[in-house]
Structures are given as structure tokens and as C-alpha cells.
Symmetry: D2
Subunit: 184 residues, 4 copies
């Protein structure tokens, strides 16, 4: 078996997000037979455990259904305050509940982090990995993907500026697909 | 100088939240001259960096003003998926922006984590500490406060069930106030 | 293909180590065709990068050769000061160098942590996972293995005291072997 | 009261260590009345809990005595495998035991990490901070000190190559001393 549909979840809502640009670039590099799709997370209400028993926000069910439909997930994220952005963590929390019904369960994952400085979102990258272990998402080890100075790699329209960043991302995508194929 | 007003930020929105119960208990233990106040974070829109330059959600300014008014902050949080709940991380992100105007800056902090199992929110506790270093919030080291099996310490109405948990929390509060007084 | 030889690396040198007891127990549960072997790390000199170019301690080469001979690695560790014991981290460092010659590379891993308290070595468990991502060791996500109050699960002679801990460890071992078989 | 004697603990044993160069540079910047001293950790035997009850390695007692004599500790470390070098973690473990007799207790700390790449030892920096919280060492939040591309800041003889790195380190040292003075 082989993965066919891969979801991309981006940790920034900014219109000109560099992380969206990375996601867009990866979509264009998808090998034959694999499709990558960006998932919207900006409309998800803040998770409240009371929702598990009562009226849930209407947007929760379609989001969970969408995640469930994928064979694997690529997370692409900036770092906010040395950790995962709240907006991304909220999406993870929403998908993980109610307890026992997590839609992330078993889906192979890749983590990409970036920053406009040297540090490349290291803190977000590894905090996210800690959650993914719990969520039972086998996660690609190498290549780790840290994109430093991302504003030199992509412009805000999403065009690739640096060829070797593009090559590295494509290589990482292929490594991930090989990894994911071992887990479906 | 001495701290007078301390904010309590709770990582769970659940009505019968045990973490709210801890916060409520601490409020009642506040020593003479110190007041503790719970801060509402459930109404904050998911942070989007575009807001920094355009129309911000109306609720951001009063939240930031409220945080700014405190001499210190106590975070009380469950663990979601081995990390800080999205709702709490979003509040931290909102308070930290726009870049250069963080309202958390310099405020001494304490971290309390809890769980209904053995592990006591360890993952949330330390992921949060990583953010607090960046946010320039001197954070109480010991006592670390991990509340295991919190449902045996407080009931959902917020009443203390276990005397020694109460004593430990009071002792930790006093250690925090002493610590905070060194940073104002 | 299937894994045949699995190394067990234990983070405690104590003679009556509970983590060694866990390792010993796992050895006895190894399914047909798989052998588990404990690796000695207490005799490794503290790593010094100067060794990469000069005379290395004599014990480094056989240790690296031994690790290289395995199809996968199980780490079993206590937590020292909220992180991986120095003795275990040193073994990891020795095996990872010289740069480009890591003997850990590509070997599927499992992490087991334990403590004599509630917290089960959570801090050691996840700090270790962060290293394993870098070392390109695909690591079992679930079941995460945290053994709380390990002194109630095994005695210091290594005998199992608690049947359901034994069953859980055996189940985790089998999940790991299935996981590892996907990566050889 | 004010800190007078500060210990510097370096996470690399390499003769031409850049982290030692940073330590040496800080020594020269020490303000009037404060002395900084480098502590040797390369001769400490790997910690074994059996030592707590039996014959300890002879070098443990003078190391612990030395650490005890300081008013505060500056840690300067590279990152090995996305975490704290084993040699540094071992020194921390040795100083922390036997249980209840930790010589680190209460001493204010600063963490400096560096790397010869972009990432500046982020993983080591924050894993170390997690240990310091447990060890009851109040730790300077800002400035966080990450030295990227350290080989461009100091040469292997320890001479400063980049003036603004020197100024930043001096500023951080002064911030640390101010912080430490609040905790003695």
C-alpha cells in the first residue's frame, strides 16, 4: 500500500505566510499518485472540554472528518514564543478529542519548522514532536527540516527564491513519503 | 517593593475545571496585601500576525491591558497532548504581540500543572517554562508544582478534598510571592 | 525482512537497577527469532571531541561495533534531574561520533522510562526522543512506556511483582518489533 | 548582599573549545568585586547511584565542595545530539546527589549555548533549563544567550573576533549578576 492523500497543516494564519509558501511549494513537488492538500485551521473555536458532552462548534466535525480522510500529515510551522503557535496547538487539540476518538491516530507525520532568523523554529519543531508521540503519529526523524531565514527562501507571494532550499524540501518530501509508506 | 496584584491564567475552559478550582483555592490563601484575580482567556480570537498591522479583534486590547496591570502571573494548566493547551498558548501569543510590545515582559511567574492521572501535566509544565524564558518572565524553580490525580484533591465545585494538597499549594504560593518580590 | 538482534541500553549503573530488571524481563519475553542483549555503558570514558582526531579510549571501538551489530535499540532509563542521566547521554554521544559515522543511524528505537514516583521519567523519556530524531532513529510512538512506582512492579532481584505491568511491557515490546520490522 | 564568586561550568572537554573561550572572555569582563572561575568536570567518573552508599570516587567530594563555594553558576555549552552533552549532564548528576544534598541548590544560574551552525545549541540550552528548575536554581530568562556560528566570534586560542558578540556577552553577564544579586 502507499499513501495517496496527505494533509498539510500550517501553524500561521498570516496571509503572506512563508509557511504557507512552503506548503504550496511541496504541493507542486508531489510525486505521481500523491496529492497534498492544505487544511484550514483558522476557523476552529478554542477547544473546551465541555464540548465533548454538549453542543460542539459546528466546524469541529468537518475538520475532524477532513483530517481522518488523509493517509498522512505534514505540519509546517513558525515558532511563537519558543513553542508551537496556539492556533496550531488548538487544531491538534480539537482533532484529538473526544478522548478515544482522535483523528490523528496512526497517521505518519513530518514536521517542518521555519523562522526569519537563524533558529529555524527549533522549539516549535520539537514541542510538536512531543505531542505527535502521544498522538501515535510515527514521525519522520531525518531529514529534520529547519528552514532558517525563510524570507530569503520564499517571497510573500510564495515564489521560491533559493534553489537549494527547494531541492532540500523536495528531498525531505520524498523521504517522508517513503517513511509514510511503511506505516500504511 | 512588593507584589500586590497577581493574575491567574488557567489553561482549561471547562466549567468544572480542576485547574480553576486550584486558582480559586489560591485566591482564598492570598496573604494580606496581595490580591489574586482570574483572567478570562476563552474569548480571545486565534492570533493572526496580520492583526498587528490591521484591525485587531476588539478583545485583544482589554486582555493586554489587564495582564499589564499585574505584578506577576500564576499559570495553572492541564496537559493536552503532552503540551500546553492551545487555548493557553493562544493567550500567551496574543499577549506577546505585536513584536516588542509584549505585556508579559518582566513579570515573575509560577507554573502549576495538574492531571487526573499520575503524570501531573509534566509536559505542559515544562513546555510552558520554555516560553516563559523567552518572554522574560523570571519563573519560580522550586517548589515545582505538579498535582497528580487532581480529582482526588478538589471536587468539581472547587472544594478542597485533600488537606495536604491545600497546604502544599499554600506553601508554593508563599514561595512564589517571596520570589516575585525579588523581581519588582 | 525482520529484526533479529536488538540491543538494550539502560540509563542506570546501579546494581539493583529497576531499569535493568525491566530489560531482563523483556529479554525473557522476546518472541521466537528475536534476541535481546544488554549493552554495557558504564565503562565508557567521557566523550571528548579531541578523541575524534587522536587516540581514542580503547573501549570506544568495541562499543560502537556492538551497537552497529544490532537491528534496533531499546532504551530503558530513569530520570535524573528531569532529563536523561549523564551516563546514558554519554553513551549516545560516544556512539554518534566522529561526525558522519554515527552507529545509531537508521536503527529503529523504543523508549521506556520509569521512576519510583508518579512521574515515570517523563522528562528523560522526551529529552531522549529529541536526540533520537536527530540520530535518525525512527522511534515507536504508542504505546509510550512510562513505568510509575517501578519498585512495586519489580523487586531489586529483577522479579516481576505486578502481572499487568508485565503484560503491558510485553505488549509494548511486540508493538516495537512490529514497528521496527517496517524500518529494516 | 551581592554575589562574589561565580563558577563557570563548560559542556565541552575539547582543548580548543569555543565554549571555554566564551568562559575565558567572561572572566576578563567580570566587574569589580566579582570573580569567575572555570570548574573542571572532565575527571568525574560516571555517576552510579551505588556510590551514594558505598565508596565514592575520590574526585566527587572536592568537585561538590568547589560548586558549593560559589554564589552562582554560569553554564556554557555546545549541543550534542540536540541535547546537553553527556559530560555536562554527568557533572550535574554528580553534584545533585546523594538525594537531599545537592550542591546546586538555590544557586542562581545563567545558560549560554553555542554552535558552529545557525541553531546555537537551542536544544541543549532548554534541556538544561529543565534540569535547573528541578535543581532549584533561579535561571536568568532574558537575555537568552544563543551564540550562532561561534567559530566566527572566537578563534581556537580564545581571542574575540567579533566585537558585538563580545558586547552582547558582557551585557548578558551584567544582567545575570543583577539577577543573581536578587537571589543571595
Amino acid at each position: 500500500m502507499a499513501v495517496k492523500n496527505i494533509g498539510i497543516v500550517v501553524g500561521s494564519l498570516r496571509k503572506g505566510s512563508y509557511n504557507k509558501a512552503i506548503g504550496q511549494y511541496l504541493r507542486e513537488q508531489a510525486p505521481q499518485g500523491v496529492s497534498l492538500e492544505m487544511v484550514e485551521i483558522g476557523g476552529l473555536s478554542l477547544y473546551n472540554q465541555d464540548y465533548d458532552e454538549n453542543d460542539e462548534p459546528a466546524e469541529y466535525a468537518p475538520f475532524r472528518q477532513k483530517i481522518k480522510s488523509f493517509d498522512g500529515i505534514i505540519f509546517i510551522t513558525p515558532e511563537y514564543n519558543r513553542s508551537v503557535p496556539g492556533v496550531l496547538k488548538n487544531a491538534i487539540d480539537v482533532g484529538s478529542r473526544p478522548y478515544g476518538s482522535s483523528v490523528w491516530d496512526g497517521k505518519p507525520a513530518m514536521v517542518i519548522s521555519s523562522s526569519i532568523s537563524n533558529q529555524s523554529g527549533f522549539g516549535a519543531n520539537h514541542h510538536l514532536r512531543q505531542s505527535l508521540a502521544y498522538l501515535n503519529m510515527p514521525t519522520l526523524a531525518q531529514p529534520e527540516v529547519y528552514i532558517a531565514n525563510v524570507q530569503a527562501c520564499f517571497d510573500e507571494d510564495g515564489s521560491l527564491l533559493k534553489e537549494d532550499s527547494g531541492r532540500f524540501l523536495t528531498k525531505a518530501l520524498n523521504a517522508y513519503i517513503d517513511f509514510a509508506n511503511r506505516h500504511v
